[in-house]
């Protein structure tokens, strides 16, 4: 007699505005326990009042790879986009306001890309469900998540708007140019003959080639 065990598992991570559900199976060949999830068969993300997102493992990895670095940079005060332009997920500051735009490109031909406008609270909810997933000890998926690193000084300086960054050097160059122009405009002082020469105390310099007495 063959006994079929219900192997398929579903893990749910809830926040106020979104719910992430991952489904899969334990990879028994890798020694996973029955309650663990080693093979991902599908996932979906439900938003309040927005279309439900679903996809494969690569899409989930792309979502994590874009959203978590974006959140980490926001903590440092750096607002810039993350994710490949041609990839399935891109997130960046909203062009319309202070929020965030999550752009999802469908893998099916003919489907237009979906732009979701998130406010700060919705972004924080999304970050929390992704954190819950990657830190869940029952999830044995090798999700490639780069650990956050401190920003280099070159990256930090991007926080300052370019006008403010350029104000000091441009101002300095302008002042230097103005000072140089004024200096050039001033007439050179007339050369005064020396008083000793006038009084005949000093002999004028001898012409070259003439022998000195």
């Amino acid at each position: 007699m063959v006994v079929a065990y219900p192997m398929k598992r579903s893990l749910v991570y809830d926040q106020q505005s979104c719910q992430l559900r991952v489904e899969g199976l334990p990879d028994l060949s890798a020694g996973h326990a029955v309650e663990e999830l080693g093979i991902l068969t599908g996932w979906n993300l439900r938003w309040t009042g927005r279309p439900e997102l679903e996809g494969q493992r690569s899409h989930l990895e792309a979502l994590i790879a874009a959203v978590l670095p974006y959140a980490r940079h926001l903590v440092s005060g750096l607002r810039r986009g993350f994710g490949e332009e041609s990839g399935p997920v891109w997130i960046g500051p909203s062009a319309a306001g202070p929020g965030h735009t999550l752009r999802l490109v469908s893998g099916q031909n003919g489907n237009p890309c979906l732009d979701l406008e998130l406010d700060d609270a919705e972004l924080a909810d999304l970050v929390r469900v992704l954190d819950q997933l990657r830190l869940d000890p029952r999830v044995k998926l090798p999700l490639a998540v780069a650990s956050p690193r401190p920003l280099r000084s070159g990256e930090i300086i991007r926080r300052i708007p370019i006008q403010r960054r350029l104000a000091a050097p441009v101002g300095g160059v302008a002042v230097l140019a103005l000072a140089t122009a004024l200096a050039v405009l001033l007439p050179p002082p007339a050369r005064q003959p020396s008083r000793a020469l006038e009084a005949g105390l000093v002999a004028p310099p001898a012409a070259p080639g003439k022998p000195q007495p």
Binding site: K8, L74, V75, L130
Partner: protein
């Protein structure tokens, strides 16, 4: 199909593998920011000072910070303070403060979220921000050096609004176990 919901996140359960190097003290800006974020938590929770001590005890830092005074002494490494202590904050102390901050932000996450949500009624949000900013201004005036331009900017109702919002947004993004790595990396920014 078996259905299971996520287990509650615990700060102490955060994995430490892959973190940035431990042997780096927080730079001046990192110290300022850490203390300001703790101050924001105190502004959100009226009993925040006691809650920080209680949380440090429950996270296993009871011997390090047995009372409010010990916690205050470590936080006084912030150069913006009226009574500022010289020297670097010990790495273990800084890490403990960061864990406490993440835990406290996690506990107050619903409150932080309501401040940031655009779905809440605008007048209610404005009222909440008013209460938070008033309390934060009281704490800043009481504890920080008012001659410092960064303190003056934070206290300015117009100029400091963006910075105050950024502090609250950062609290939302570092709340919980997963936020610790983000917080640590961001506080070490200027040291790299």
């Amino acid at each position: 199909m078996a259905l299971a919901s996520a287990p509650p996140t615990t700060i102490t359960a955060a994995p430490t593998a892959g973190l940035v190097e431990r042997s780096r003290a927080l730079p001046r800006r990192g110290l300022e920011r850490l203390d300001l974020m703790l101050l924001c938590l105190e502004a959100l929770d009226l009993n925040g000072g006691e809650a920080l001590v209680w949380l440090s005890d429950s996270l296993g830092f009871g011997s390090r910070f047995p009372n409010r005074v010990e916690l205050w002494k470590r936080r006084c490494h912030n150069p913006m303070r009226r009574a500022c202590r010289r020297g670097d904050l010990e790495i273990d102390d800084a890490e403990a403060l960061m864990r406490i901050l993440c835990g406290m932000a996690d506990r107050l996450y619903p409150m932080v979220r309501t401040l940031l949500s655009a779905a809440e009624p605008a007048d209610l949000t404005a009222q909440r921000w008013g209460l938070f900013e008033g309390r934060l201004a009281e704490l800043l005036t009481e504890r920080m050096n008012p001659r410092r331009s960064s303190v003056q900017k934070l206290l300015d109702p117009v100029e400091g609004a963006a910075e105050r919002r950024h502090l609250v947004q950062s609290l939302a993004l570092v709340a919980g176990a997963g936020g610790y790595e983000r917080l640590r990396a961001s506080l070490l920014d200027a040291a790299s």
